[in-house]
Amino acid sequence: MTVQLDDVSVHFGRTCALEGLSLTVAAGETVALLGPSGSGKSTALKAVAGFVRPSSGRIRLAGQDVTDLPPAKRGIGVVVQQYALFPHLRVADNVAFGLRAARKPKAEVVRRVAEMLAMVGMTSYAKRFPRELSGGQQQRVAIARALAIQPKVLLLDEPLAALDAQLRADMLGELQKLRREVPEVAIVYVTHDQSEALALADRIAVMRDARLVDIAPAAELYATPPSAFTASFLGGANLLPVESVGEDVKVAGHVLPGVRSTPGKELLCIRPHAIRLGSEGVPVRVIATQWRGSSNQLTCTVDGLPDVSVRIDLPADSDVPALGAQVSMVLPAEACSLVPS
């Protein structure tokens, strides 16, 4: 079972919410749609679910064109941001909703609801109303309800956004576990949080201004980002303008050993934790330091590059240079990649 979006655009009046998205999600694959708000990621999910109608393009599920099918006929599990548990129904009835809509025999409904609640660890809450549950519990019920109809595709729209930081980390672990429980389901996971995307997705589709910017396996996208936007949005990379001199690459007049110039790629991308301080490097001046518990983050200006500031993560146990100090940063060639500006 694959989800296939073929040049899908969504317009609301004059506003373009999604522009020509083509994307395929294979059975058993998790694809994260990652982007800032207004990037079209939620619209893409709504188009797959059938909540909005594309103004052009086709959507196929397992090869069958579903563009004109209403959501009820698509058989897709959806978990929305605020969970939308039906407030007048108890937890068990919420989970049973889709099964009853499909007129499943009573015994099967009971069995399946028990199975689903057990899977998300909510068995003892079956008789509660949604408002009696915490955010994390509501989220589990929403997932149980979506999976009860045994969908081949599961759409998750910012499922962790409404939770506080600690709970978010716990639920991320639970989602990973859940992923293994339904190995054949294709999952589309919409988020603005890069750590969720990196933790859960096989492939990440980075979106911006209603368009797909880059799509690639998560590790590849992180290690060698194809564009400046992806580099900074996914992992907050530093971007430094470079000059090419023959085969060599220069940052602020200093040659980077081991980095080879590529035509058309004028930005050097390097993660904050990959930069080290040393004696032979690019001179920078420290303008801010921030202790983050597990690391110290320095913000530095580069001599000769007036508009650029560089973030450097130093291990927590290393010496932190004083504010205003002149240090030199070492950019290891294996951590550097070049992207077009």
Binding site: K46, A49, G50, F51, A72, V80, F86, H88
Partner: protein
């Protein structure tokens, strides 16, 4: 908080009590007193009697109460049905604003005009309703639809559309989404619209007085007629009956709403 000092607060409370007492409470008290007064020549009523109340609960006047209750329930409940239907249909439609304006027309127009309009429109074939109870019910229906529509439409604005979306994605047909998700979620608003419609209908005079046939006279019209004939004490007793009936009905409807919210 606008007033901070203790004497200042006391003073504002006293001012409020005086205004509220004179303008709101005093007329009620006077009506209740008049309902039980045999004569009222001095400052206070004298010769207390339950005779007026007996009169108000017998014969034509009792029939009036029954007429009022029937009209309120029939007109009010139909109004809730139509108002809810209208609000659901207008919600998210591009004709929503037009529907809004049309539904609010009956409260923007004076109720006497609504009554006269119905009288003129339905006094001839092909639709001859003048002289039947239906013209009264329809007048109430037309006036109450506006309130029902307003209440339900306001509640719809606050309901996140993703509930209906999710229900549909779970395989529910549009009818199932309506009956099992959208309407139950609107139940508090619908109950509240029902209470409002019934209460307003119980007290409606303006349009009723234009259209009512002799056989279908509501309590407010009776009160008006009695007071017009100078039977002030009987009118007061009838008013007391109306007041009690309305409070009981609204209280009952409100209890239904309370349960809906608890669920």
């Amino acid at each position: 908080m606008l007033v901070w000092t203790r004497p200042g607060k006391a003073l504002t409370w006293i001012a409020f009590a005086v205004v509220f007492g004179v303008l709101v409470l005093a007329p009620f008290v006077v009506v209740i007193a008049a309902a039980f007064a045999g004569t009222w020549n001095g400052v206070l009523p004298s010769n207390p009697t339950a005779g007026h109340l007996q009169e108000a609960l017998s014969g034509d006047e009792l029939a009036s109460l029954s007429v009022s209750l029937q009209t309120a329930f029939l007109g009010g409940l139909l109004a809730v049905a139509f108002g809810t239907w209208g609000a659901l249909a207008a919600h998210g439609s591009r004709f929503g604003r037009v529907a809004d304006a049309l539904h609010h027309l009956p409260i923007a127009v004076p109720s006497v005009v609504v009554g006269l309009g119905l009288l003129v429109a339905f006094s001839r074939q092909p639709i001859l309703l003048n002289g039947t109870k239906w013209i009264v019910v329809i007048a109430h229906l037309v006036l109450m639809v506006a309130f029902s529509y307003g209440t339900v439409a306001a509640a719809l604005q606050r309901v996140d559309p993703s509930y209906a979306d999710v229900a549909a994605s779970l395989g529910a047909s549009p009818a199932r989404v309506l009956w099992q998700v959208r309407l139950p979620m609107l139940r508090p608003a619908i109950a509240s619209a029902a209470g409002l419609s019934v209460a307003l209908s119980m007290g409606e005079v303006g349009a009723t007085i234009m259209v009512y046939p002799a056989s279908w006279r509501t309590v407010p019209v009776s009160i008006f007629a009695l007071s017009d004939r100078g039977q002030t004490f009987t009118a007061a007793a009838e008013a007391l009956v109306l007041l009690t009936a309305t409070v009981l009905v609204v209280f009952t409807v409100d209890r239904l709403r309370g349960r809906a919210v608890e669920q």
